[in-house]
């Protein structure tokens, strides 16, 4: 892909990824075929900030985990009342990283 397109993608989507993943994403996109561009552009990423708000409000019911696609963990959180509240509080701090991981997985699935 052209460097210009790749840089445009990174500029408009960098809040969805960990900063240390950006160089890796840039290389992946540069190596990728031009035909993937349309697909990459239509990808919908989860905004880590939105998920954090959901986690703060409804983390005890596991809604945050359901939203990023961790259905199994969501059920676990829901049925244990947010892991006695402990797990819910731990997730306030790690949910943004987990969301960004999910986003990069989504991108990788399209590119490989």
């Amino acid at each position: 892909m052209e460097a210009q397109k790749v840089d445009m993608f990174i500029m408009s989507n960098n809040k969805f990824f960990e900063s240390h993943h950006i160089p890796q994403i840039r290389e992946l996109l540069l190596k990728a075929d031009d035909s993937k561009w349309a697909l990459v552009q239509t990808l919908q990423f989860q905004d880590p900030t939105t998920i954090l708000i959901v986690s703060l409000l409804a983390g005890g019911f596991g809604v945050d985990r359901f939203m990023i696609g961790d259905t199994g963990l969501g059920v676990g959180k829901l049925l244990t009342c947010g892991g006695f509240g402990v797990w819910a509080i731990v997730d306030w701090f790690i949910i943004m990283g987990a969301t960004k991981d999910k986003n990069i997985n989504k991108l990788q699935q399209v590119l490989y």
Partner: protein, 136 residues
């Protein structure tokens, strides 16, 4: 979700579950509990969907199955999970297999299907409504 991450998480969860139960059994004998731990209930004064599962499990341990069913049917789910999970993890670790991980991914996919998800959501909501009605 990698194999090691999942197995560590599940081990920690079931160990804390057992620790909590032992503590509750001990507290019941001494007649000194630490009272209510549910944050949702403390804040809103309403029971959460899984409130009462500890009491339910303690009734099952003592053989009062009907009483357990009345307090919270989720207790039966927890008892079976707590019995099966550690054995499954140990078996998997000994045989160096990842059958539990495969089962986890399989179940996750199955639960995410719309009809299944709908039924489960309705069940949880019904149970929650019953909890509020019983004023657990």
């Amino acid at each position: 979700m990698t194999r090691n991450k999942l197995y560590t998480l599940l081990t920690v969860l079931s160990l804390s579950g057992y620790a909590w139960l032992v503590f509750q059994l001990y507290a019941e004998q001494q007649n000194s509990g630490i009272g209510q731990v549910c944050i949702f209930k403390s804040v809103t004064n309403l029971p959460c969907p899984s409130c009462g599962s500890t009491r339910s499990i303690l009734e099952i341990v003592q053989g009062n199955l009907l009483a357990a069913l009345y307090i919270n049917p989720l207790g039966f789910l927890f008892v079976s999970v707590l019995l099966i999970l550690p054995l499954w993890i140990i078996a998997d670790l000994l045989q160096k297999s990842d059958s539990l991980l495969k089962f986890y991914h399989h179940t996750e996919k199955w639960i995410s299907k719309k009809p299944v998800a709908l039924v489960l959501i309705v069940l949880v909501l019904l149970n929650w409504g019953w909890n509020i009605y019983k004023d657990l």
